[in-house]
């Protein structure tokens, strides 16, 4: 069943959107939040666990100090206040991905609170998003439901559980309600999550790969008629795991809410699931504020105290803020304002930085990312960084072009091969036989044939009309299936005809 939607324009005409985000950031600490097991997800299931992660009888948690440091750094980068003393609580609920049947999480005493983040939109407008809190918690295990058609627990024959992720440290960043974004709401949503991702990546506290779930976004959307102060009823779209999806999900929910409100029905407060294939959401669990998790302070942990000295020490280690970094990078790379904004809006600033670090010039890096990769990512409907191009590939391709081994057209073809998983650029060039023909022998053969086929053109060139050479070059390129170096072909033709170039 698909929900009715209004067009985005009509929705905006009638309603004012209010947003809110909960972004979960997985920290890249060596060990887990409360145990000494390795914080590595994706290995063989249930291998990166110890008795604490499995919730064995008698175990106790111990807080990971590095996770606290990372959380404080995130709080500082989000311009938050850092609590001098805070505690963990237990969130009690029965579910088999949570081995203790409670999650250890901060509740009413977050480590960081009252911050903000200034978000620059594509046209340079700056929008301030207020941060309510950033708190620490542990991740749950991963359930895989087998036998059902949908991969959901309903209808499954059985479920498998992998506790490798159980106890991975998380920081959840919660915004205050975001008002006044209007029709920029979807764009702001994407830019906000991009900004958070950029911050945690630059801090080095998270691998920050959305496709791996290192950064996960729950997007809250509600609508209210223009001019009304009271918020409408919100939906919470869970696990929107790419920047493009964040934008699309917010846009879709605005359109869906508008249709519900237009029909005179109340919006249901619920969790929605995002479907990337259809770019729609479907109803999940009904969620009310009355969900009773029976929170109480975690008695197995002592309060965390963050002395002001420690906080200032950590503040001193923070990398430059994103705005300053952009200014520096633009100057270093020599891009115009417009070029740089395009790069930022395309979401490839980090990728260009990495490509330059790998040995490309700023111009070459921009040419590849903006000219080749962004378009492909758009066609594939993924963020450019998720397409699978690594900086070394670009450097290698560019070197082949500069060395005259292949031309630009071939390089583009090789890139397609790399993305199709056919191998490294060198392997693909070999496999596809894509080398610029630089041996004069085959070229001279083709030139002689072309001159013999077009004696009139040959005469014109001999007579000094050198611009006529294009017809012969074209024939040679055709004969060599584009593998000849056009410059060298030109030289050889003139040499053959005894004409000074």
């Amino acid at each position: 069943m698909t929900d009715a939607t209004l067009s985005f324009e009509e929705a905006m005409d009638k309603y004012d959107p209010v947003l809110g985000f909960e972004v979960h950031v997985e920290l890249n600490t060596k060990t887990k939040m409360f145990s000494s097991a390795p914080n590595v997800f994706g290995d063989e299931p249930n291998t990166n666990v110890n008795e604490v992660d499995l919730g064995m009888p008698g175990v106790l948690p111990v807080v990971n100090k590095t996770a606290i440091e990372s959380s404080i750094k995130i709080g500082l980068a989000l311009n938050c206040k850092i609590a001098e003393k805070c505690r963990f609580a237990r969130k009690n609920y029965f579910y088999p991905d949570t081995p203790k049947n409670f999650q250890t999480s901060q509740y009413d005493e977050p480590i960081a609170y009252d911050g903000y983040l200034d978000i620059e939109l594509s046209d340079g407008t700056v929008f301030r998003v207020e941060i309510e809190r950033a708190h620490m918690e542990e991740d749950a295990g991963k359930l895989t439901h087998m036998g059902g058609a949908t991969g959901r627990i309903q209808g499954a024959d059985y479920s498998l559980v992998d506790y490798n992720r159980s106890g991975v440290p998380l920081v959840e960043i919660v915004t205050k309600p975001i008002e006044g974004a209007g029709s920029r709401a979807p764009e702001l949503a994407k830019a906000y999550v991009a900004a958070v991702r950029e911050i945690v990546k630059n801090l080095g506290v998270s691998d920050a790969k959305m496709e791996r779930g290192n950064v996960r976004c729950d997007a809250n959307v509600s609508l209210r008629p223009h001019g009304r102060e009271r918020f409408g009823i919100r939906s919470e779209t869970k696990n929107v795991n790419s920047l493009r999806a964040v934008e699309h999900a917010v846009r879709y929910e605005i359109q869906r809410h508008a249709a519900v409100l237009d029909s005179g029905e109340p919006v249901i407060q619920e969790t929605r699931h995002w479907h990337e294939d259809t770019r729609t959401t479907t109803s999940g669990r009904a969620k009310s504020d009355a969900d009773d998790y029976r929170y109480f302070p975690e008695p197995d942990l002592v309060p965390i105290t963050a002395s002001r000295e420690w906080v200032e020490e950590l503040r001193a280690t923070l990398p430059e803020p994103p705005a300053a970094r952009r200014k520096r990078l633009q100057a270093d790379w020599g891009y115009s304002d417009l070029e740089f904004r395009d790069v930022v809006n395309a979401g490839v600033m980090d990728e260009i930085e990495e490509t330059i670090a790998a040995g490309a010039t700023a111009t070459v890096a921009r040419k590849w990312w903006m000219g080749e990769i962004v378009g492909r990512a758009k066609n594939a409907d993924v963020d450019p960084g998720q397409l699978g191009v690594n900086p070394a590939t670009i450097v290698e391709l560019n070197k082949m072009v500069e060395d005259g081994k292949i031309n630009n057209k071939m390089a583009s073809e090789v890139l397609d091969g790399v993305l199709a998983g056919e191998g490294t650029p060198a392997e693909i060039v070999g496999k596809r036989g894509l080398a610029v023909v630089s041996d004069d022998g085959p070229l001279l053969e083709a030139i002689d044939a072309a001159l013999a086929a077009q004696p009139g053109v040959a005469d014109k060139i001999r007579g000094g009309k050198i611009q006529a050479i294009g017809a012969i070059v074209g024939a040679v390129m055709k004969a060599t299936r584009g593998q000849a170096d056009a410059g060298r072909v030109k030289e050889l033709i003139l040499e053959r005809l005894g004409v000074e170039g």
Partner: protein, 521 residues
């Protein structure tokens, strides 16, 4: 008395001396205890599991090291080769751990509790695992899913709880030492009713890692023994910081053994807690308590009276905090990863229903009662009134202790209001059962240490009475200093240890077996 009977009646300190002098071997001692268990545990039922092979192997290793001499022998711990029993709430590799519950029947822990690691490091042979009320919830050991333990003084009576198994094992000479856990009195009250010594250390003084949690903010592991010095020796083995327990104190352990050996109360102020004696306390308990005060006075202590007005709220607050924490701590027993798994008899096999069926079948009534109480107390809308208020009471109790310890160096009270009651007597009256802990609970609520030692036999029933000493947090040494003095004064009066007056379980075996059957079922 046979030679082996003499061995089992020695204190741990005496055994340690004879082992070090190579007058006896650890294998002899361990075998003597295993024989005793075989002879009397059918009546007492202190043990849920006997660990004979491993205990003898550890004993043999100690003997081999001693026989070889040299540095390795020199480095042996003072208690090396002295056997010990472990409450079955504490996890052990190589033996089952049940917590006295069907829900963990057959479960083997993949790891050792920190205290068990320390026993192993000291090379103390572990005789086995002792009975307890299910998940340590009870004051009589009658709530064990594996049947009650019987009091060696009168097999028709309760051995206290929840650590009735450890106390009865020590009282019946089935072990010289045992480990207990104390959440509201589960070490001290069994000590009182079995005529043994039990200590609840300062909260954080002994690592809780590997003790199956009932109420995390109240639980504490501690020693169970026949003498004050023996408890000090064991406390010294298990105490001290553990990085795996965040609530473990960083302080280095005081020399508790020295405190017990150099007991002295001269000039000390000992405070009687006005609210913890008199009305509601059995006359024979009150008489023995007053005698102890006179003895301490005679040894140079000054007896003062202190008032702790908020102690009257302690029991009520305890029965909110303890079940609240327990309801959450016991949520992990759901049949998904370990232990019992029961499928619903009919209807769909959803995970919620499997968890429900498992918990319905696996937990006993008292555990369910506390889970329901705690779940209710933590519910939205009730949290402030129940859990929140109880935490405030806790602060008030701490302040009462602070004020009392300004007037007195240690406090003193009877450990339990009565002597051991009959098995079955209070089983269907939870409130009457809970009242047993009225004198022991305040220490858990405030985190202060407490020690119970035998104070004699009550006039009316000839059963043991316990005297409780309480000290400020981190001042556990004071308990041993005062306890050792009182113990020696009392023993001088009795002409030997109180346990000498306990019935010989082997001599009256036929009668005891008959009465135990009559009393418990």
């Amino acid at each position: 008395m046979t030679e082996n009977n003499e061995l089992i009646r020695l204190s741990a300190a005496a055994l340690a001396e004879k082992l070090a002098a190579r007058e006896i071997t650890a294998v002899e001692v361990t075998q003597a205890y295993l024989d005793r268990i075989a002879a009397v545990d059918g009546k007492v039922h202190a043990f849920l599991h006997v660990n004979a092979d491993e205990a003898l192997a550890v004993a043999a290793e100690v003997d081999a090291i001693r026989a070889a001499g040299g540095a390795a022998a020199e480095e042996l711990h003072v208690l090396a080769g002295v056997p010990i029993a472990v409450k079955d709430l504490i996890v052990t590799i190589g033996q089952p751990t049940t917590a006295g519950s069907k829900i963990l029947e057959g479960w083997h822990s993949p790891y050792d509790a920190t205290v068990v690691e320390r026993l192993r490091a000291a090379k103390m042979p572990i005789l086995g695992k002792t009975n307890l009320d299910e998940f340590a919830m009870g004051s009589s050991t009658e709530h064990s899913a594996y049947g009650p333990t019987h009091n060696p003084w009168d097999l028709d009576r309760i051995p206290g709880g929840s650590g009735g198994g450890s106390a009865a094992a020590v009282a019946a000479f089935e072990a010289p030492l045992a480990l207990g856990t104390d959440t509201g009195g589960s070490i001290r009250q069994p000590g009182a009713v079995t005529g043994t010594v039990g200590v609840k250390p300062t909260y954080g003084g002994v690592s809780r890692y590997g003790a199956i949690a009932m109420a995390s903010s109240l639980d504490q592991i501690g020693p169970v023994s026949r003498t004050v010095l023996d408890s000090a020796l064991l406390h010294q083995v298990i105490g001290g910081h553990d990085p795996r327990d965040s609530t473990s104190l960083p302080d280095p352990l005081e020399d508790l053994v020295a405190a017990a050996r150099t007991g002295n109360v001269e000039g000390m102020k000992i405070g009687i807690i006005k609210e913890l004696h008199g009305e509601g306390y059995q006359a024979g308990v009150e008489n023995r308590f007053n005698e102890s005060l006179e003895l301490l006075k005679g040894a140079g202590a000054e007896i003062v009276e202190v008032s702790c007005p908020n102690f009257k709220y302690a029991l009520g607050a305890y029965y909110l905090i303890m079940p609240s924490e327990a309801s959450s701590n016991l949520a992990k027993f759901d049949g998904v990863r370990y232990g019992l798994r029961v499928l619903p008899e009919q209807g769909p096999l959803t995970i919620e229903r499997v968890m429900g069926a498992t918990r319905a079948a696996g937990f006993g009534d008292e555990v369910k009662r506390r889970i329901i109480l705690g779940t209710y107390a933590l519910s939205a809308g009730y949290y402030d009134a129940y859990y929140g208020s109880a935490q405030k009471v806790r602060t008030l109790i701490q302040r009462d202790f602070d004020a009392a310890f300004e007037k007195a160096d240690v406090l003193i009270s009877p450990t339990a209001p009565t002597t051991a009651f009959k098995l079955g007597e209070k089983l269907n009256d939870p409130l009457a059962m809970y009242l047993n802990d009225v004198a022991t609970i305040p220490a858990n609520m405030a985190g202060v240490p407490g020690l119970s030692l035998p104070g004699g036999l009550a006039d009316e029933d000839g059963l043991p009475v316990g005297i409780q000493l309480l000290a400020p947090a981190r001042q556990d040494a004071r308990l041993y200093r005062v306890g050792a003095v009182l113990e020696s004064l009392l023993e001088a009066q009795w002409g030997g240890p109180l346990l000498d007056k306990a019935p010989s379980l082997t001599a009256t075996s036929a009668a005891a077996a008959a009465s135990s059957h009559g009393g418990s079922h």
